[in-house]
């Protein structure tokens, strides 16, 4: 993986940081006693993109976020965020990052507006400026009606939105979102996804951790799969899916006795041995583009009647299983 990373970097601690990237991580390791939470992690996140850090509970996702957000010191390695060295200039870095956690880190006994105004003033704004920014964010996050209610009266989804709003008070160029939708109902999840997509369209760089494959698929430009403290794969969603073999073409035949004829007709397209059973033909196709049209044409020429034909793309579940030998949410027992 490191071969992809040969860009204009400065030599720091034996590994070369990519100073063009919004987030650059080299050789970060962290142990807690005998537990190796992170082992020699390298990552780059280009400006204005979302990196999804995907892995089961205990894989090391939160540990990495805590290190990059200056909350935790790594045992070794180096990292740069928004052009600032994470380990040497932590105080300066805090001006440029926003952190929204797995647990909504807001004060339940303060109102939504009071929470945001407090955070604004802790960033150094005046009382009036902090309040104005708070009101602006409440507007943006559809919380105006609840502005003056204590947070303890908020729903789970509202708390997460407020938590995210608090991370945005200082308009930071880099955002860390640690499992932003864990524990939310599907409706609130979709709402929050919309909000995050809007942020990214406005130019933010986001490091998003998640144990949900669909979340990474929807939000992330690139995905790093992390398991037992190691990054075991990195790429776009499509690249990762290509690794487990391309698309699966599923053909339901009108006449189940034509199975052999169908296989013969489709053979030139196949990447692997086709499987037939009971009028259903499954083949792994070499290329995605035009696969359905080509298959229909070939079957038509061979006189094979088709009842239904579908191209099923491998899911990130398939990816995770292929890479780690276990399902992604297997250990996700919260």
């Amino acid at each position: 993986m490191s071969s992809q990373l040969e860009t204009s970097g400065s030599r720091v601690g034996g590994a070369s940081l990519n100073s063009d990237a919004a987030i650059s991580v080299r050789g970060i390791s962290k142990s807690f006693g005998d537990v190796h939470a992170l082992i020699d992690v390298d990552l780059d996140v280009a400006r204005g993109t979302v990196l999804g850090l995907l892995g089961p509970n205990g894989a090391g996702k939160t540990t990495l976020v805590r290190i990059l957000a200056t909350l935790l010191q790594p045992d070794s390695g180096s990292a740069q965020v928004a052009g600032v060295d994470v380990l040497r200039r932590a105080a300066e870095l805090r001006e440029r990052i926003g952190l929204a956690g797995q647990y909504a880190a807001v004060d339940e006994n303060l109102t939504g507006l009071e929470n945001l105004a407090m955070v604004g003033r802790l960033y150094g704004s005046s009382r009036a400026a902090a309040k104005a920014r708070g009101q602006e964010l409440l507007q943006q996050f559809d919380l105006v009606d609840a502005a003056d209610r204590p947070v303890k009266t908020y729903s789970g989804g509202m708390r997460r939105r407020l938590d995210l709003a608090a991370a945005l008070v200082a308009k930071p160029p880099v955002l860390f979102l640690d499992e932003p939708t864990t524990g939310l109902d599907p409706r609130s999840r979709l709402d929050l996804w919309d909000v995050i997509e809007t942020l990214v369209s406005e130019g933010a760089t986001v490091l998003l951790t998640t144990q949900y494959l669909d979340e990474a698929d929807r939000l992330a430009d690139r995905i790093a799969v992390i398991d037992h403290g190691r990054v075991i794969a990195e790429g776009t969603s499509d690249e990762l899916k290509d690794r487990v073999g391309g698309e699966r073409l599923e053909v339901h035949l009108e006449d189940s006795s034509q199975g052999d004829a169908a296989v013969e007709a489709l053979a030139p397209m196949c990447a692997e041995e086709p499987a037939t059973s009971d009028g259903l033909v499954r083949i792994g196709v070499r290329q995605r583009g035009g696969a359905i049209i080509e298959a229909v044409r070939r079957l038509d020429q061979a006189g094979v009647g088709v009842d239904d034909i579908a191209l099923r793309r491998p899911t990130l579940d398939d990816v995770f299983l292929a890479l780690t030998g276990h399902a992604a949410e297997e250990e996700g027992s919260e």
Partner: protein, 254 residues
């Protein structure tokens, strides 16, 4: 330094604004001290002989100091809760002064302690306590009690960040402070204690602070240890505020 002050004010304000919205906490500041005064004055008081004036006059300075030392519990519980809710993580990711979260908490305690102390003294006045002192001495006594409470809030800040759960903060704090307050001259005359306890009681900062407050407010003869009382406050602050801040820097949420 300017940053530390302004950030501390923001956090203090936060802790005071939320106070009326957590009624169970407010109850601890108001009803509990009244119950303690009534318990000692009317249940135990009859059986306790004190030199000089009445037991009410003996009791109130003692109970004020005990109450104010326990006032820091709010800091221990509050910080522990903030840690679990992830608020400490948020604060630590902000470009704010490192000590401000703790200084803001302990400063808020001064306000709640003042409230609690006012209720105590008013209750005392109703059950027979009276000041026999100049205004200057009364005010000096208030300052002594509040600064002693402030120093103890830093002890509780350290404890609150040290232990895993609010329940643990509660019991560790109680185990630490309870003997200190009771093996002292707060509720009974120091001379009435068995020898080993009396030896402990004599050097116990609680005894020193209580005796000085008694002298300042009721004119009871004092061993002239006012400087020692303030020295203890300085020692506790110098010891525990760096410990608490160091702990805060490494605090891990959940």
């Amino acid at each position: 330094m300017r940053r530390l002050l302004s950030d501390t004010l923001v956090v203090t304000e936060r802790n005071l604004v939320r106070l009326p919205r957590a009624p169970e906490l407010l109850l601890a500041f108001t009803i509990q001290p009244i119950m303690f005064v009534l318990l000692f004055r009317y249940v135990f008081g009859g059986a306790i002989r004190v030199p000089g004036g009445s037991y009410a006059e003996f009791l109130i300075p003692g109970i004020v100091v005990q109450n104010i030392a326990f006032g820091g519990f709010v800091t221990a519980l509050g910080l522990n809760e903030d840690m679990h809710k992830g608020l400490i993580d948020r604060f630590r990711s902000l470009p704010m002064a490192r000590a401000a979260v703790l200084a803001g908490r302990t400063s808020a305690d001064v306000v709640t302690n003042a409230l609690s102390m006012t209720i105590l003294v008013v209750t005392g006045l109703i059950i027979g306590f009276s000041f026999h002192a100049s205004v200057l001495h009364v005010v000096l006594g208030l300052v002594l009690a509040l600064t002693f409470g402030y120093a103890f809030s830093w002890v509780f800040a350290f404890l609150g960040l040290l232990v895993k759960t609010p329940e643990a903060a509660n019991s560790v704090g109680f185990i630490a402070v309870f003997p200190l307050t009771f093996i002292s001259s707060a509720f009974v005359p120091g001379q009435s204690l068995p020898t080993p306890l009396r030896q402990f009681g004599d050097v116990n900062p609680f005894t020193i602070v209580v005796n000085e407050l008694r002298w300042l407010w009721t004119g009871q003869p004092s061993p002239d240890q006012l400087w020692q009382a303030f020295a203890w406050i300085v020692v506790i602050l110098v010891l525990f505020s760096p410990l608490a801040v160091a702990r805060y820097r490494r605090a891990a949420g959940r």
